[in-house]
Amino acid sequence: MDSFVILCFAVVNSVALLALISLGLAVIFGMMRVINFAHGEFIMLGGYATVIANHCGVNLWLSMLVVAPMFVALIGAVAERLIVRRLYGHLVTTMLATWGLSLFLIGAVTAIFGNTTMGVSAPLGNIPIGAYSIGAYQLFLIGITALLVVSSLLALHWTKYGLIARAAMQNSEMAATLGINCDRVYAVTFIVGAAISGLAGALLAPISGVLPHMGAAYVARAFVTVISGGGALITGFLSAATILGPVEALLSYFATPVVGQASLLLLAVIILRLLPTGVSSLWTGGR
């Protein structure tokens, strides 16, 4: 019984982590068709912002939930202004430029902080479940991820900004004729995406090694999740995470982690082959 609960926890946890690391990318890709290769580094910067703010005496929760997203939003704003804005509509060029940005950010962080930074540990203690015990912080993480996803959905569908954003995403020319400043919408979207990535990094900081290269472990996985999710902004990647996460978690548990990881990629390939525009084409009827 307790092993079943733990297994369920592991599955839900892997879905939540996949969702958490993909959300920022999903917002940027879904709205702007920009593949942000520096996504992993935004996560890394979020982690660094948290750790450093915390060492400077800022309360951990404040560092995680406020300082990190704001800092990364700032970096995102600069990157958008200097790089991404000039390359809109050129998918591959943007991808390469953000790849350059990712190397640049890694280099910059290493040059400033070196390759070793003292981390912060997970707060909240642990919860015993039968013979097992799990970190309470991980439960918090699942909760806050759900909250983030739900609030993004609500923001997109119930607020004026969400409406404008969806309009700009559907048809930028028409939105422009309606008096919407698409450049501004894109800028805000990129910044919001960056802030979410930063928040993800901050939330991950207590349970992962905060190092200049930590982003590399996340980017491919986030990328695959978002693309196989398809056109529908939030629901798409969420459903992809819900399919891919459990497969990886369960196969890692019952077979080997390599099998789990390979199956995640293989499954993404199969999803894209069967549903060429991603999972969400099932209910949006293609794009």
Binding site: L7, I134, G135, G209, M214, A249, S252, T256, P257
Partner: protein, 411 residues
């Protein structure tokens, strides 16, 4: 293009290249008043955490030698290459060091993959390769000399101690690549020898960051001790998630790689306190020789120098052992230096006495079992003068001078 068969063929050309290389080398240091050695490390990229301090240790050694008047009357010059955590760079730079810089010795290429990519190149150009990282053991090649610990020198003392003091049921969790798999075999060797039990061998890809399922698996198996051979930044997540699940106080962790990537600094004390490792060297070692050494490190890299652990210490001991060999040989020539290294060079350094072992081309040395508390390591037990494993006599460059393949431990 009209190339005659003769000039097109490598056998003759390689010979001439070798003789040229030889004459280059000879010419290069015979005429000038400096002699060059190469440092091949990842100074950027994901693996710089190992490369940067190891390179620093080489620098410290070179400065020490030069401050004492150099070697055979010549200043030693350190040619530094940044492998950029890209294995493709290693053969390139090894070649450059051999052909352009005409170095007399190459050290570095710490990761197994880098070492394997570099070794054949240096063998081809006949430049001695000093390997400074601890490793799985079983490398018994004429052109290579391993100055750090091999598999048996770390795993055997650590597991002897842990089976005796922590319990017989061991759970092995490791990164999925060559060295951890080889260390995994040593676990079984030791379990058989000591009557212990290896409950599981779990290998995780290097970029896994979510260890929830892994931890659940360990909890279900209820081991007495967890042996972790998880390597790299992403794997640090394991220790955090392990501590967050409250396991750190319940099941002790032993390791032979923990701290090599400064895990004990990146992670918080409440996530690492009590982890036990085995290395030939650790920075807190309380000996006069070590105090001297650390003073020199500070002189080179300032007070906030990176932590010097057992992995990167090889950068220092490698150069020093090589220098001793050069002194004994009275020459920088490959044959002479290798012969000297094979003649049991004894050197007393910060980590105690180290003696090169002729037949195995590995090094006999002390190993310290240490424990971390609040980011500081303290000695539990010292195992003196552990010789390298002979792999049943197969690890012997005198009887197998053409041996280049790895030897595997037999259970």
């Amino acid at each position: 293009m009209k190339l005659s068969r003769r000039s097109f063929l490598g056998t003759s050309a390689a010979l001439s290249a070798a003789s040229i290389a030889g004459s280059f080398a000879g010419g290069a240091w015979a005429a000038s008043d400096t002699v060059a050695i190469a440092s091949l490390h990842d100074l950027s990229g994901a693996l710089d955490i190992y490369g940067v301090p190891s390179n620093l240790c080489m620098k410290v050694a070179v400065e020490e030698i030069n401050a004492a008047g150099g070697l055979l009357g010549k200043k030693v010059e350190l040619k530094v290459y940044d492998g950029q955590s890209d294995i493709n760079k290693y053969p390139q730079y090894a070649q450059k060091a051999a052909l352009n810089d005409r170095v007399v010795m190459v050290q570095g290429a710490l990761s197994g993959a880098a070492r394997e990519a570099t070794r054949p190149v240096l063998r081809k150009y006949k430049i001695p390769f000093i390997y400074g990282s601890f490793y799985e053991g079983g490398l018994c090649e004429k052109n290579t000399f391993c100055v750090n610990t091999g598999g048996n020198q770390q795993v055997v003392p650590l597991l002897e101690w842990s089976f005796k003091n922590l319990g017989k049921k061991l759970y092995y969790i490791a990164s999925d690549y060559n060295a951890p798999r080889n260390f995994g075999i040593w676990n079984h060797v030791m379990a058989k020898r000591e009557g212990g039990q290896v409950l599981a061998d779990d290998y995780y890809p290097l970029d896994v960051t979510d260890f929830t399922a892994a931890i659940a698996k360990i909890q279900a198996a209820k081991p007495d001790v967890v042996h972790s051979c998880l390597v790299g930044g992403p794997a640090m997540s394991f220790y955090r998630q392990w501590a967050a699940a409250g396991m750190l106080k319940k099941i002790p962790i032993i390791s032979i790689v923990f701290a090599a990537g400064n895990e004990h600094e990146v992670l918080a004390p409440e996530e690492t306190d009590g982890v036990i490792v085995a290395y030939n060297y650790f920075q807190e070692l309380d000996t006069p020789k070590n105090k001297e050494f650390l003073a020199k490190v500070e002189a080179v890299a300032g007070k906030n120098h990176p932590y010097i652990n057992g992995e990167v210490f090889g950068g220092y001991s490698g150069v020093m052992l090589w220098a001793e060999a050069v002194k004994r040989a009275g020459s920088f020539e490959r044959e002479a230096v290798l012969a000297a290294l094979e003649s049991s060079i004894r050197w007393e350094g910060p980590a105690g006495v180290m003696t090169t072992d002729g037949p195995t081309h590995n090094t006999t040395q002390d190993v310290h079992i240490i424990k971390v508390e609040n980011r500081v390591w303290s000695l539990i037990e010292k195992k003196e003068q552990i010789p390298p494993d002979t792999y049943g006599g197969k690890c012997n460059v005198f009887t197998n001078p053409n041996q280049t393949d790895f030897l595997m431990p037999q259970i």
